[in-house]
Amino acid sequence: MDKNRLAAGSFRLLLHVVLIVGVFALFLWANGKDPIQAVRDTVRINLLQWRGLWGVMVRMAPLLLTALAAAFPFRAGLINVGGEGQFFLGALLGTWAALNVPGLPQWITVPIVLLAGAVGGGLWGWIPGLLRARGWVNETISTLLLNYLAPLIVGYFVFGPWRAPELAIYPQTPEFPDVARLPALGTTRLHVGFFIGLLFLFAYWFFIHKTRWGLEMRSVGGNPEASRRLGVPVSRWVVLAMVLGGAMAGLAGIAEVAAVHYRLKLAISPGYGFMGFLVNWLAGSNPVGIVLMSFVVALIASGGFTLQITQRIPYAAVNVLLALILFVVLAKPASGILAKSLARRWKA
């Protein structure tokens, strides 16, 4: 029985990989590119060179956190696809803090800025959480819609009141003061945000599996009806899980701005919020899985930028690949049936 399940699982994974790689290779080939060379370039530049590897890890930093933005609510039985919007709101509030703190030393300023970012994201998670807890709007719909609103709000500020005076043709804020920037590791580009991500991943694991609150939150996700009857405050956990998730994405947003761009503008995310959702889905909300899957997705994203240069493949191709992955992963049940029947035939 277990052997069968394992066989079916392996088949499924194999099918996924074959499907994804195969279709993407076909896509590249149909566009007149060399798929094998594309893989070679990606590996050579992004994995085998220190510079490239640091770059991949810099991309992992926001993904770790946006994956958590989906993971916390998922444990409470909620689907948060609003990571992208929460990312932008976090960047917005964090920027406000960074541009307004009086001259304090870095070790105080940075936590304040990060906290403001978490509050911003948390606020953007609180709204759908509240709507859901009241039984008014499904959180999947509301988080998705709020994704469209958040960049517009950021747009208002960078085009309007916060626009930098020195380079007024660009819609962006002035640069962050040095004290508000996240320090990087030595001479690399790898910034503190990456380690904050790891830290929160550990905190997430601890919270979910070790604490009383984690037990309650998982029970809400596991059986809301029983939880209600056991006196677990279900609606409170629904709101809290969304706020926690939003805060994670907000943290990712402000960390990205304060460590990579140093100023708020519209082009701060190549879709980190959505990628984080994908990471969490692939990882099944497991912390170690989130690290691994963040690496894979970050590698794909970095590879996309590499291929833009070496093979002149538009970056959008990466979105095609990520969408393919999502598509194949969501098609799990069907492919599972296929894999099972294959496994059965294999045995016979």
Binding site: K210, T211, R212, W213, R218, N223, R229, L230, G231
Partner: protein
């Protein structure tokens, strides 16, 4: 009446895990006959008709059509043989019209459906049997009664000869029931065979030609309508008192009141009935049984006590404190234990381990450092002691709840709910669907609670269980308490009559 029945089922046995739903059931229906299947919930009526319709396969027994043995392997085959079933929940598509819904159901669908021909057929059938349906009306505009008639129409147009209805009156208003029964009679006079399920005596007596009563999966009796009477049917439905579950002395002194409900009323939400003026007291060392056909407000009564439903008027007093507005957490904290039916849905988290589920009742009690950790050792000790005190074999602590049998799940719930300083146990059909041994474990636990001076409120449909355990029995009907009796001064038949409203309008 014809000599040989159109449809005959012989020796039908069907087991589900832990329960025998049908035990050597014989059933038949003739052409031009209305046959009522009567019985309590869980008596096996639905299972039987689903077997006739090919939805379930019987473990043993045969089905014959026109005297020839004919296995029915799927609903599709059943329809091919002219057997149609109208489910309790309808299978219509609201956005489509009556004609479109009917067309979808026709088995031999031509590539082009002539709307005129179909409409003519619908209108003809509608006129003949007074269905009052227009082909072009969208289904979402129809009343529930009309929707039911669309289901019937579907069967008629596929030339079904045997029409089976699973509790058709459940969704209908009284006047709609009369209309439906009028249609039944017209159909019978045209030679159709009709089977309908009900647990209402009066419906069986007014409409059926023959009545078969099922009790606990077996045929308790089959009567022609002219030979049947309310008394006879009640006796067949509920039987005579079974053996006592456990020995206990009755009528001992009770202590102070633990729970008092005073004139509780609630609002009806959706299809749930409202409670009307429910007053009830449970004392220390007393088991109060609540009898009734399920769906008459028992679940709501339990939810009011637990604090899930706030009464619109009335008062709830728990341990001499006004507790009307207390939320579930506070009721539980003050000592209410709740043992519901179907623990997997209502009481446990399926993919939590046994231990986690035990800890879930009061996570605070087992938390360390204000919640930063959980004292699993303490939870383990409590669980072990609980199993021992209830005289149960301990369950593997790491096993997931979803992997346990229904009986073991209920043992887990018992251990969790009763391993603390509780004052009142509320059982909401706690033995429903359990095998005999597990059911007895639950009953034993309730008797233990009573002996320890706790209050017990036992909501059940199993009258022999209520008679064996209760000090007092109240009967609920349509959200009201319609009677209160003492088991040693009444009979099962008497309570059964009250449950179905005989002599109470």
């Amino acid at each position: 009446m014809d000599k040989s029945p159109v449809l005959r089922a012989e020796g039908i046995t069907k087991r589900f895990p832990g329960v025998v739903a049908n035990n050597r059931v014989n059933f038949d229906v003739h052409a031009g006959e209305i046959h009522a299947l009567l019985g309590e919930n869980g008596a096996g009526k639905s299972t039987l008709v689903k077997i006739l319709y090919g939805f379930y396969q019987p473990d043993s027994g045969t089905i014959s059509l026109d005297g020839r043995p004919t296995p029915i392997r799927s609903p599709r085959e059943a329809r091919g043989h002219g057997i149609g079933l109208v489910f309790q929940g309808f299978t219509l598509i609201p956005a489509l019209t009556v004609a479109e819904n009917v067309a979808l159901f026709l088995s031999k669908l031509d590539w082009y459906i002539s709307p005129k021909k179909l409409a003519a057929q619908i209108q003809e059938a509608s006129r003949r049997y007074g269905l009052e349906l227009e082909p072009k009306t969208p289904v979402w505009q129809l009343s529930v009664g009309q929707q039911q008639r669309v289901e019937l129409l579907k069967l008629l147009l596929t030339r079904a000869r045997v029409l089976i209805f699973d509790e058709p009156s459940k969704v209908l208003a009284p006047h709609e029931v009369d209309t439906l029964f009028g249609i039944f009679r017209d159909l019978r006079n045209d030679g159709y065979s009709l089977v309908f399920i009900t647990h209402k005596l009066r419906e069986a007596l007014t409409c059926a030609d023959r009545i078969t009563v099922l009790r606990q999966g077996q045929v308790a009796g089959s009567l022609n309508a002219q030979d049947a009477s309310e008394e006879k049917l009640v006796e067949l439905m509920f039987g005579e008192p079974l053996k006592e579950v456990a020995t206990r002395e009755r009528g001992s002194k009770f202590g102070k009141p633990i729970l008092e409900l005073v004139d509780i009323c609630t609002r009806a939400v959706g299809t749930t009935p409202a409670l009307r003026q429910v007053s009830l007291t449970v004392h220390e060392g007393e088991i109060v049984g609540v009898a009734g056909v399920s769906g008459n407000g028992q679940r709501e009564l339990g939810d009011v006590i637990l604090g899930l439903i706030k009464p619109t008027t009335g008062k709830k007093i728990f341990l001499s404190q006004e507790a009307t507005a207390w939320p579930p957490a506070r009721m539980i904290g003050q000592g209410v234990a709740f043992v519901p039916e179907d623990p997997l849905a209502m009481a446990v988290v399926p993919w939590f381990s046994v231990l986690e589920n035990v800890a879930l009742l009061s996570p605070k009690r087992f938390s360390l450092y204000g919640g930063l950790g959980m004292a699993w050792d303490k939870a383990r000790a409590v669980a072990r002691a609980g199993f021992e005190r209830l005289g149960l074999n301990p369950l593997p602590e790491r096993a997931r709840a979803a992997s346990l049998s229904g009986g073991n799940l209920q043992r887990l719930v018992l251990v969790r709910e009763l391993s603390r300083d509780y004052k009142l146990v509320v059982g909401l059909y706690p033995t429903r669907g359990l095998d005999v041994r597990s059911a007895n474990a639950v009953r034993q636990a309730f008797l233990q609670a009573r002996a320890a001076g706790k209050g017990v409120l036992l909501i059940s449909e199993d009258l022999s269980e209520l008679f064996a355990l209760s000090d007092r029995i109240v009967v609920m009907l349509r959200g009201q308490i319609v009677g209160e009796v003492r088991p040693d001064q009444t009979s099962l038949t008497e309570v059964g009559r009250m449950m179905v409203g005989v002599g109470h309008g």
